[in-house]
């Protein structure tokens, strides 16, 4: 799979041209500031990413020149806004290589995308005794919606992971019984950085006739995703983790599945006719987009996808992978540091604990150095429990991060050790 993707992408981009990180940093105005008198080192990209000027300009442009509601007015502004909104949908379609634009549903984020599937597909298809299969490395947003759904009688099953943070594929396959009606798996773990073998997972599940939802929140910023190549049934991601605005995200679903599902939010724009006796729902994708959407956010997301595809997903992946390897080496070399999540296939995340120091204290001290990291359970409490730690410190990478920033992180950790010596 990777070979084919790479070959195709290589034709588009000149080979051998690596990403110019200093040039890229110029595109992100927020990175110019100082924190506690030191240059901001932003290593919390798995929580949210920063926004390039192109995204900020797009949002500003919408509100200053095109602001209007969509799919409603016959006036010029509404026409412009509608065209821009639908153009953004087409950008997402191309980005994911979906077959049709109507398979792209705009939502608030990954959480809403997963809830949409739980409340429509899940409620309609799952009966008492049925099962939903997830993994032990899921974010709370790919656990809790299913637990809520399971209050109606279905059971949530969890495929275990090993000490490196890798899914035990044999165990996963053993749990794929005829009772399982839906498989929901993170493409990349937010707490560990593990890249799951989603293609294999999808193939195994489909062999048993089971549809698969992929939580792609942590994958989309770091690698090329092709939903048709994966053959996933649903794919969810958030705009704000991929250099777009907050409050906008995407649910991709295969058209035939989406067609068969009841609507999620009732309201304007999701209907084709309403009387007090009977309402006829709108066609895809509007059936799932009740109410005025986050138009500016959608355009901002389109701009973000333009921005990263302009750089090239392969070059981003290459840059981040080199940085991840550099960071893994550097952190492993600090006595007392234990990396949590050492899967062979990883993306973007360096999660660790420092012997004798709580992550919260690490975070406070690093902040004084201008370094932004996340400390805590990363909305993945079962993962923390699996590794026997209450919390970790997580440095997560983006396309604008540099080796010098990793060096600063290492120096910061040494300061923490001094403080607690």
């Amino acid at each position: 799979m990777h070979a084919t993707t790479r070959e195709i992408t290589m034709q588009r981009e000149p080979p051998g041209r690596s990403l110019d990180v200093q040039q890229i940093r110029q595109d992100f105005p927020i990175l110019r500031q100082k924190i506690h008198g030191k240059p901001l080192i932003y290593l919390d990209n798995a929580a949210t990413s920063q926004k390039p000027q192109a995204v900020l300009d797009t949002i500003q442009h919408f509100y200053t020149t095109d602001c209007s509601n969509i799919h409603r007015g016959v006036h010029q502004l509404s026409e412009r806004a509608t065209a821009a909104y639908e153009a953004a949908r087409e950008k997402v379609r191309r980005f994911l290589n979906a077959a049709e634009a109507r398979e792209i549903i705009f939502v608030r984020g990954t959480t809403e995308a997963i809830n949409l599937v739980a409340y429509t597909f899940g409620r309609e298809r799952l009966r008492p005794g049925d099962e939903i299969l997830i993994t032990a490395m899921e974010h709370h947003s790919n656990i809790v919606p299913w637990q809520i759904l399971c209050e109606r009688g279905a059971t949530l099953r969890v495929a275990p992971i090993n000490d490196a943070g890798e899914l035990l594929l044999d165990e996963f396959e053993r749990l794929l019984t005829s009772r399982v009606k839906l498989v929901c798996v993170a493409h990349v773990s937010n707490a560990l950085g593990t890249v799951n073998p989603v293609r294999e997972i999808i193939r195994m599940s489909h062999r048993n006739g089971i549809p698969v939802l992929i939580d792609g929140a942590q994958a989309v910023p770091h690698m090329k995703v092709d939903v048709r190549e994966l053959d996933c049934d649903f794919y969810a991601f958030s705009g704000h983790k991929v250099y777009g605005p907050t409050g906008i995200g995407v649910l991709y679903g295969k058209a035939e599945l989406l067609e068969s599902m009841p609507p999620f939010h009732g309201g304007g724009d999701m209907i084709s006719s309403v009387t007090f006796e009977k309402t006829i729902y709108n066609v895809l994708p509007y059936k799932f987009e009740g109410g005025t959407p986050h138009i500016a956010g959608t355009l901002g997301l389109g701009a973000a996808l333009d921005y990263i595809t302009g750089i090239g997903m392969d070059r981003i992946a290459e840059h981040e992978h080199a940085l991840l390897e550099y960071g893994t080496q550097a952190l492993s070399g600090i006595p007392g540091v234990r990396l949590i999540g050492t899967a062979r296939e990883k993306a973007g995340v360096l999660s660790f604990v420092l012997e004798g120091v709580h992550p919260h204290d690490v975070g406070t001290i690093l902040d004084q150095e201008g370094i932004a990291v996340r400390t805590g359970h990363h909305c993945a409490q079962p993962v923390m429990e699996r590794f026997g730690v209450p919390a970790t410190t997580r440095a997560s990478l983006g396309l604008y991060n540099t080796r010098e920033e990793i060096d600063a992180l290492v120096a910061g950790i040494c300061k923490v050790k001094e403080m607690f010596a």
């Binding site: 709580h358 919260h360 004084q368 409490q381 919390a391 403080m419």
Partner: protein
């Protein structure tokens, strides 16, 4: 720019590494649990109340240096005091960690608790310092609930 050493004073580091009264208390007649979902800090406070006096007190749990040291120094400070005295100390301590000083005129002397005065420079860390105090108050009030900072 605040100096980190003011937050992480030697006393704080010492108590976080070797917390005092850090065990389950046999014969405790009041207990409560505290939880900070933000950072996952968990603490259980055990009190042996004799009439109105905290004859003995201990704690267990896991947390950051600030929360562990705060719990350790709290148990040292309130041991032997009455429930009302402990409550008055909490009010002063709360003032200290939120504003950096104690404004009340009739406030009891805080003693070693003064080491937490710079917590007020780090607003997100205030809950780390106060969690155990909220938990103590809950234990003394006899409410059998889990205290949460959120």
């Amino acid at each position: 720019m605040p100096d980190l050493r003011d937050l992480y004073q030697e006393v704080v580091i010492d108590h976080s590494k070797r917390p005092r009264n850090f065990h389950k208390l046999e014969g405790a007649n009041h207990t409560a649990q505290g939880y900070n979902p933000l950072c996952g800090d968990k603490v259980t406070v055990y009190v042996k109340l004799d009439g109105n006096r905290l004859q003995d007190i201990s704690f267990e749990g896991s947390g950051c240096a600030i929360s562990t040291a705060s719990a350790s120094i709290m148990t040292e400070t309130v041991k032997g005091k009455t429930a009302e005295e402990a409550q008055a100390l909490f009010e002063s301590f709360h003032d200290l960690v939120t504003t950096g000083s104690v404004s009340r005129r009739d406030a009891p002397p805080l003693g070693k608790l003064e080491v937490f005065s710079k917590v007020s420079d780090y607003p997100v860390r205030v809950k780390c310092a106060t969690l155990v105090w909220h938990t103590l108050r809950s234990a003394l009030s006899g409410r059998d609930t889990v205290v949460s900072t959120e």
